[in-house]
Point group: C2
Chain length 447, copies 2
């Protein structure tokens, strides 16, 4: 039998895990520094929790888990015969795999509210599963990395989350542009253009701007039958990127509130103190999402790639589960894309590519216990190392060290054993040096 | 709608995650120090990979994933009518959730062998899923933590893995007893007693010794109809805990090899250099598992609890997937139980229970931008902190700090703003001190 993996899933080699962990570690570090405590929810949720939260498309893309035991007992054979897929699904399955981290977070708040004090700042780094058609860069199992605050309407958090983005990407040495907008400003612009009643639809069209350009958006809006004059006003207004230029066009309270919110956030932030560029961009729309206030998106500089992060304010986070008036604001890091960008721009530190540290290679049976002693000693000094586990020819052990990617080989034969030293060979330079354990400790500690 | 969780699954609160991470971090650290590189495999595996690997019981307890799309199309209605559960399962489902980390590891080796050099040392820390009946301490989703070496028969690795156990439990400050035995010695003992042909069955009975005692084992063996004289020899031999006492009873090569292996491992190890106690225990059997050589089990000292770790040597790790002659040896950490033991023995450091560091509380609108400046400054010095996001009464902010578990509160009002200082209150002692940012940096850095 030749084994295989389900489509859309991946194995990760040690070198890939190390690179992923490099990204996760930075994100995790700043999540903690900023007070976003980690929580975890189970991979399996009740289908009742998941269904209807992600639209019809989402319902189809949810992975559902077959009931254990005699699942046929609960099956209505007429529904099977008539091909009633949704009824049969409910009979066969009560659980599904997590589809994102936001719905489980909302469920978590409602179920754990006796343990939670609001404002509640939480982070989550967990895999999610979607039965999307697999393609380059899109998998059926992938990680999401979220930081959210629930239970506060303070705009300070929008500013804090923008700073969190700035800090993480600065730590990754990955230059980005952070774009921000406010759904209320977008609504105000549509009011000005006389198109407010089509807010949802037009938001989705504007969201395609990155892909189809301003001309594509214009012609799609025309194709949808909106008046040319209104479209022109709309296009003109979303093309302005100074907030103050929009003030006079805001005709309702909603629009004005959007402007005020934007200004307050920028005041809290002190834009000039950020490492990365933050720009106001009224074309930013964030498509079909549930955002109601500030929205954010992050793009890497100098590489052709979709957004590597996004987020915003969503009122009524937990209303779907019966708990009202809990406002949420959060951001997400697109770690799979961040990985690809960092590979493309060669931003992973060289040490990661050197996959292993020191291999102790023992050349005769009599020296083996000294070799073990050396390995134990190095490890007790927190110096990562390995021992080649057999007495083998020098060439075989060197070729193993080379293939695995050890940075150094510590050779031990009769001479070394007698002197209680190790001949340490640098695999890059080829240089070899006879070293005592004390020398090695001095030179290699805290690697 | 009142949300709920599927039975056997859990949410983790921040404090629980911090304690779990404390354990994972130590394990991860020693995995790396000892050269066991992390790999990851997907949560979903092909059912072909999983089925038949864990016995009939395991096949039933696997979580199976309903095929996406029109799963009714592939359904044979006659099989549904006749209630042929296993055929219908195969028609409805092609994927299952990971049941352990060993079968995916074997599959991984076979599929990635062009990237792997043997001996291949790997670690894995990932959740697994089993449809077991949930009960106290047993969940349907739980983490496994494994370190294994594939592709070497060197007994050095048995010694290294015992040392790895010793190092991790030492770092957790959790005293343990590590018990070891060898399946070949167990076989030799049964040969001596004339019971070798019942090796599998008797191994499973001996494995219950922890639960039913030596009398329980004796009477179960009697009930199974073995001769009393043979049972007595068996019980006598497994009661010896000096290896040398067993030498003269080993009548075949297999038994003698078991003794030699045990002696070689102990010689590599230097038992006296371990922090924890390592004992040879011929009653250790490890039940129905596939072990063929050395076997290991770890128990916590001073607490009533099953084993918190186990492992051993298994020949032909990858034979199920068509790759022969790959010997494996590995150990597993029972993190869920380690967590419970550490709670019971109060071994988690106090700092973990103090869930948060400093809360900056601002008392008037005019000081808010100074408060933000303080928070940004502290974070830039790597001091974790939070800002209460609104101007609220002192009492409200103090009560929030108290409920969330902040160690300190930094008060900022008019006086502090004017002096560019912070009144830092220690939540334990109640003491308050007016500090400059420089004072705070000196006192709180590297928290």
């Amino acid at each position: 039998m030749k084994p295989s993996l389900p489509k859309g899933t991946r194995d990760f080699l040690p070198i890939e895990i190390k690179k992923r962990e490099f990204i996760f570690d930075k994100i995790r570090y700043y999540f903690r520094l900023f007070g976003y405590d980690p929580i975890e929810t189970p991979a399996m949720e009740s289908l009742e929790t998941l269904m209807g939260k992600y639209g019809d498309e989402g319902d189809r893309l949810l992975f559902k888990i077959l009931n254990n035991g005699d699942f046929l007992a609960g099956l209505d054979k007429e529904d099977v015969s008539s091909g009633n897929l949704s009824k049969v699904t409910r009979q066969l399955s009560k659980r599904g795999l997590r589809y994102d981290l936001t719905v489980p977070f909302a469920r978590y708040i409602v179920m754990n509210r006796q343990h939670i004090k609001f404002p509640f700042k939480r982070s989550a780094i967990q895999p999610v599963w979607r039965a999307d058609k697999p393609q380059k860069g899109r998998y059926q199992e992938f990680f999401q990395c979220d930081a959210d605050v629930a239970g506060s309407t303070s705009l300070y958090y929008e500013a804090e989350l923008i700073r969190l983005y700035d800090s993480v990407f600065d730590a990754l040495q990955l230059p980005v542009i952070i774009r921000c907008n406010n759904r209320k400003i977008l609504f105000g612009i549509m009011e000005s253009a006389g198109l407010a009643e089509y807010f949802q639809t037009i938001t989705v069209v504007i969201d395609k701007l990155d892909k189809i350009g301003i001309e594509g958006v214009t012609s799609e809006l025309k194709a949808r039958g909106y008046e040319e004059e209104k479209i022109n006003i709309l296009i003109n207004l979303i093309s302005k990127n100074e907030i103050q230029e929009l003030v006079s066009y805001m005709i309702s309270e909603t629009g004005k509130q959007g402007i005020d919110e934007m200004n307050e956030i920028l005041a809290y932030l002190g834009r000039e103190t950020l490492t990365n560029k933050l720009i106001f961009d009224p074309t930013l729309a964030r498509g079909l999402s549930y955002y109601t206030g500030c929205i954010l998106e992050v793009n890497a500089v100098g590489v052709q790639m979709g957004s590597i992060g996004g987020g915003g304010r969503y009122d009524n986070l937990t209303a779907i589960f019966g708990l009202k008036d809990v406002s949420g604001v959060g951001i997400s890091f697109g770690v799979e894309r961040i990985y690809d960008v960092m590979e493309e721009l060669k931003l992973f530190p060289d040490e990661i590519n050197k996959s292993k540290n020191i291999l102790i290679a023992c050349l005769d049976r009599e020296s083996f216990s000294f070799a073990i002693e050396v390995v134990n000693k190095l490890r007790s000094l927190n110096i990562p190392c390995d021992l080649y586990p057999d007495i083998a020819k020098l060439q075989k052990q060197m070729s193993y060290a080379n293939d695995v990617g050890f940075a150094k080989v510590g050779l031990i034969g009769e001479e070394e054993r007698t002197q209680r030293k190790v001949s340490v060979k640098d695999m890059d330079s080829g240089k070899q040096e006879l070293m005592s354990l004390e020398d090695m400790m001095q030179k290699f500690k805290c690697v």
